[in-house]
Symmetry: D2
Subunit: 143 residues, 4 copies
């Protein structure tokens, strides 16, 4: 597997802003922080909309963070041209996160011609315990 | 398995409105339409926020519909008191939905004392082809 | 979705026997019983090797039944030529089955050019309650 | 999370041999090699029965390795008394393994009172690329 990234965090953030303005309807809450060989780290700064009763962060917000993060991990390695589509996502919710920023580290498990599989690990503000863990599959169209 | 529901669609909708006001931040988009033995049907009326470029409906929106629907299926059979929590959700995205209302039919596969497993099938406006299919597990706290 | 099957139960069973002799190392335990539009039913007659302490049937046996059944559902609709490969399988174990024959009904959720998604429901001898429920994805090579 | 193991590889192997003789019907193919805080490594020495046409290793064999490995990771940390049961397993098949021994490293993502979630990564003989990746949930009965 050649896992040399070809997009920087800045390039990914510009791409998200230009092509997925809906992600930023409530302000720029998603931001790619780092890119490495086969990996990226994405940060979510939650706002009122992402919270649930009791002050925790909603399931769909955690899903969105895992999905956007894993999808950016694929794009970072194949470029912004190809339109990769999520075909499967399996997520385990492990602990209730405190309200506050979340960090999602993504790792490419497979980058094939037709399918990519990515693992996403979501950590809370204290960066210690896992909040959620997901694996996602993306279908990569012929280029 | 005793799968006699104990909450009506009206009772579930009142419960969602009172206890999960965040669901309705942009208007009442989620509505329980029908409840039966082991099943419920939930409808989503998407707005601008749920769309993606090209006019399709976003992945997190489909996730939220499957999760809220399956969770309401559990509550419909154990009542609104118990606080069931999603522990796992696996979703397959099958077809891009047209923009327009979505229908989610949920079926309880297991209702145990500690765990419930629910299948959620999401259909598009034409009610024909499956848009997405999910299975979710809920942890039921001791009562 | 055109879901007209093109292989009969007999053709599928002959194909399994000829191409997957390992399935039958301990006798012919797997048998396709019925094929319909988008569906098949497979039966497993467990032997000593499939049992676990306490007389229940092992997890890998339930996995194999779901996987072989779902894979045969794909082949029944695309023919025995194409080599479909399992890329993802998610299984929920719902109830301990009694020792005895199991029945697995499979339903195609999506049959695309590159990916097929199939649901598999495993029932015990009494044909009443679900023992396990799985969804599986198969990659279909270019033809 | 207190992730201090309380069983050694030797104790786990003795437990498997005594309580799950079926695992060893064809010789001792499964062996726990190492135990650490929150982790274990299990080895599978495949025989004729685990192979598939073309000389690769069967899907049910990879499933069994992930499931037995992840289950032993739980037992290593809660002891052999409690009867943990697999409730969900999601597996991605990433590459066809060469025939030869497989290594499965398991990592506990959550060890709660009622549920444990474990990640299993399966490597081939060359110990380089991932062959399969799974996450599994175990229900832990009250003690």
């Amino acid at each position: 597997m050649d896992l040399t990234p070809i997009m920087s965090p800045e390039a990914l953030n510009r791409f998200l802003e230009a092509d997925f303005p809906q992600l930023h309807t409530d302000g720029k809450v998603f931001e790619v922080m780092a890119v490495g060989p086969g990996t990226i780290t994405m940060r979510l700064e939650p706002n009122e909309r992402h919270l649930r009763p009791g002050g925790t962060i909603s399931g769909p917000t955690l899903f969105a963070l895992a999905d956007v993060g894993a999808w950016c991990a694929v794009l970072a390695h194949i470029g912004p041209v190809a339109l990769a589509v999520t075909t499967n996502l399996n997520i385990n919710f492990l602990r209730k996160p405190e309200p506050g920023p979340l960090s999602c580290t993504c790792r490419i498990l497979k980058l094939g011609k037709r399918l990519a599989v990515v693992e996403a690990s979501i950590f809370g503000s204290d960066d210690a315990d896992l909040v959620a863990h997901a694996t996602a599959t993306y279908s990569i169209p012929p280029q």
